[in-house]
Structures are given as structure tokens and as C-alpha cells.
Amino acid sequence: MGPLIAYDLITGSTNLLFAFLIGIGFGFVLESAGFSSSRKLVGVFYGYDTVVLKVFFTAGITGMLGLLFFSLFGWIDLDLIYINPTFLYSTLFGGVLMGAGFIIGGFCPGTSICAASIGKIDAIFFVLGIYIGVNIFNEIYPLVEGFYKAKFLGSPKLSDFLGISDGIMALVMIAMAIFAFWLGEIFEKKKKPVIY
């Protein structure tokens, strides 16, 4: 039955419409959860507010459980889900760069758009920075192409890598999430509350 687009049950345009509606929902939830505040966002790096960790990890395990149960009921074919291909070196480098940018700028790309849309000046500059960065990358792409495409791993899943089933992997992820939330709350208690 699913993914809807892969089975031609909906057209590409309808798919975009769904994406648009889900995007609005996502933005709305981000904003109402306070994710348009850079102080709240970077709190996860300083340990005074781990809500970022909680929200994204919860979203992750919710989506994971949803997909696995949908697959179990035969509602979706997991083999047809697009998984971003992994280019190991650029993933690692990009991850470090993104993390650094997150701490310095106070936003991740999604939340920066969210904050820019409610008129936060720092976020507007952040988005401008993304735009400039993307263009620089485009211009120097021929120079970095070798590194960008190095160590291609296909679309590996952690469960394949470890040789365990998706279900057991899911349980491990859930245990990790609960443990991380508990750890996060301990850190939060130790830090002085920050007003923002």
C-alpha cells in the first residue's frame, strides 16, 4: 500500500502538497516547543536544557516504531523507503561542521527558518549564511568532489551493520533514548536554570 508515491497512488504534485502540510505542522510544533530560541537550542550543548535531545529522539523513535508497525501490518514496504546514501568522510566532516555551526550560530537549519519566520534577526542572518554557504559549495564543488564522494557505503542500516533484526535495533534505540533522557535530566538539575 505504501509508500503512496512509489505505488503511483498519488502523483508527485499531491506528494508535494502532503509535504507542504506536514511542513507547516512541523514548523508549528517547532515554534510552539520554543525551538525558535537559540538559547534553548544550544542548551543541549551546555547541559542546561536537553529539550532538543528529547524532542528529536522522541520524534525518531516515534517514526521508527510507526514505520516498523506499518511494515508489520503490510501497510508500507520498507524496501521502497528512500534512505540517504552514506558517503562516510563527507558525512563525518559535515557532521562536525554542522555541530560547530549549531553551537556558534544557535540554530540548526530547520529551526533557523522557523525563527526567521517569526522575525528573529540572528536567525535571518543565519539563513543568509546558509544561502551563501550553499552557493560557495556549489562553486567549489569540482574541487571537493573527490572528498565529497569518498568512501561510499550505499544506504546501510545500523541493524544490517550489527547483524541484528530491525525490531531488536528499535528496542535498543528506545532503551538508549530513555537512558539519554534520564541522563539529560540529571544534567539539567545540576545546572542553574537559565532564563530566556
Partner: protein, 207 residues
């Protein structure tokens, strides 16, 4: 109650369930164009005439030959044990029991491979397993099994062994391999059985 505890109460049992149940590996739907192209190019659907001849001679019960030519052609001659599912009727509900099963190995054949390949692609696209194609079809069958060409004297031992096998198989199946149904006036006629809606009857007719 803390949100963390509340969350744990919900997701941990779900995680336990999903870890305990086997993964759903059924993909009852269609292949992508790329996958189909890959499979077609790899030629995984082919059974060579030798393999089929060997299975027929051994009276292997796991094999089911399926003639995808039309009824007239089928009634003129067919391979031993073959049933007739004309390509034009392949999507009819009656045939699903034959085509979508995991007990027998279905081998489609037609005069060449074009129609049997079509049948294979359709069933493959429907997600059915265990369907194959007789390589080269009946033409190649006659060429290799019924009238094998003796290899030149300089050929390798392998070629001779192949020839000996083909000759032996041709003799074992001789005449019987290309059954004239007209001769079998006394036996169950195939055409009426085809029209029947009863699957059971059709099997009897075919065998």
C-alpha cells in the same frame, strides 16, 4: 508523572513487541522498472532444455510445465505433463492458484521465448514466485533434445557428454516428448478441461 516515565511506559512495550515479532518480508507488490530490467538482463528466469528434459525423465513432481501458446497449438502438441495457460488469459482468476504458489516450479514455454518471457514478466510483476521460462522455447527444445546435432570430432569431452545426454533424453522422451493429443483419443481431452471452472479437473486434464 514525569513525561519521561510516561513515554517509557508507551514506547518500551511497543519496542518489545516489535523486537519479538518476525520482520515482515512480504513484498506482494510490484518490482521497480530497474529491478525488472536487472532480473531480465541477468536471465535468472531461464531453465535450459537439458535441465527440463532431465526433470521430465525423472518424473520430478516439483516441476510444472505451462504452455502459454493458444489452445490450438497446445492441442497439436505439448511437452509431457504440461498444462495450457494461453498468454491472453493469464490474468484470469482461475490461473492464480497455479501461478501464485510456492510448491511447484512453474516453467513457461512457447514456440520461442517471447511469449513465455511475457508471461514471466507479468507474473513477476504480480510478485509471484517460482515461475521460470524454458530457454529457447519449443524451437530450441526440438533442436537440442529431439534432434541434437553431433559435435565435431575436435570438440571437447564436455560437448560430447552434452550430446550424449541430449541424445539419451531425446530417446527417452522420443515421440512422447512432443505429445500428439490427437492420438490420445481415449484419454481425458484437454480442451474441454480448459473450459471447466474446476481447478481440480484441469489438473487431471493436464497430467
Amino acid at each position: 508523572m514525569k513525561p519521561r516515565i510516561l513515554l517509557a511506559i508507551f514506547v518500551i512495550p511497543l519496542g518489545l513487541i516489535i523486537a519479538a515479532v518476525p520482520e515482515n518480508k512480504t513484498h506482494a507488490f510490484k518490482l521497480s522498472a530497474e529491478q525488472l530490467l536487472e532480473e531480465t538482463n541477468a536471465g535468472i528466469q531461464y531453465y535450459s532444455p537439458e535441465e527440463i528434459a532431465d526433470l521430465i525423465i525423472k518424473k520430478d513432481p516439483s516441476i510444472q510445465l505451462i504452455d502459454v501458446r493458444n489452445v490450438d497449438e497446445y492441442s497439436k502438441f505439448s511437452l509431457p505433463g504440461a498444462i495450457n495457460i494461453p498468454l491472453t488469459t493469464i490474468l484470469e482468476e482461475d490461473w492464480e492458484g497455479y501461478l501464485n504458489q510456492d510448491v511447484k516450479i512453474n516453467v513457461f514455454y512457447s514456440n520461442g521465448t517471447l511469449n513465455s518471457d511475457k508471461a514471466w514478466m507479468i507474473t513477476r510483476q504480480l510478485g509471484y514466485e517460482n515461475n521460470y521460462v524454458l530457454m529457447g522455447g519449443l524451437n530450441y527444445w526440438v533442436e537440442t533434445i529431439m534432434n541434437p546435432e553431433s559435435p565435431s570430432s575436435t570438440s571437447s569431452d564436455e560437448e560430447f557428454a552434452k550430446y550424449d545426454f541430449r541424445k539419451g533424453a531425446g530417446m527417452a522422451l522420443g515421440g512422447g516428448a512432443v505429445i500428439s493429443n490427437e492420438k490420445k483419443a481415449g484419454t481425458a481431452p484437454i480442451i474441454p478441461a480448459l473450459k471447466s471452472k474446476s481447478k481440480k479437473k484441469r489438473v487431471q486434464g493436464g497430467c
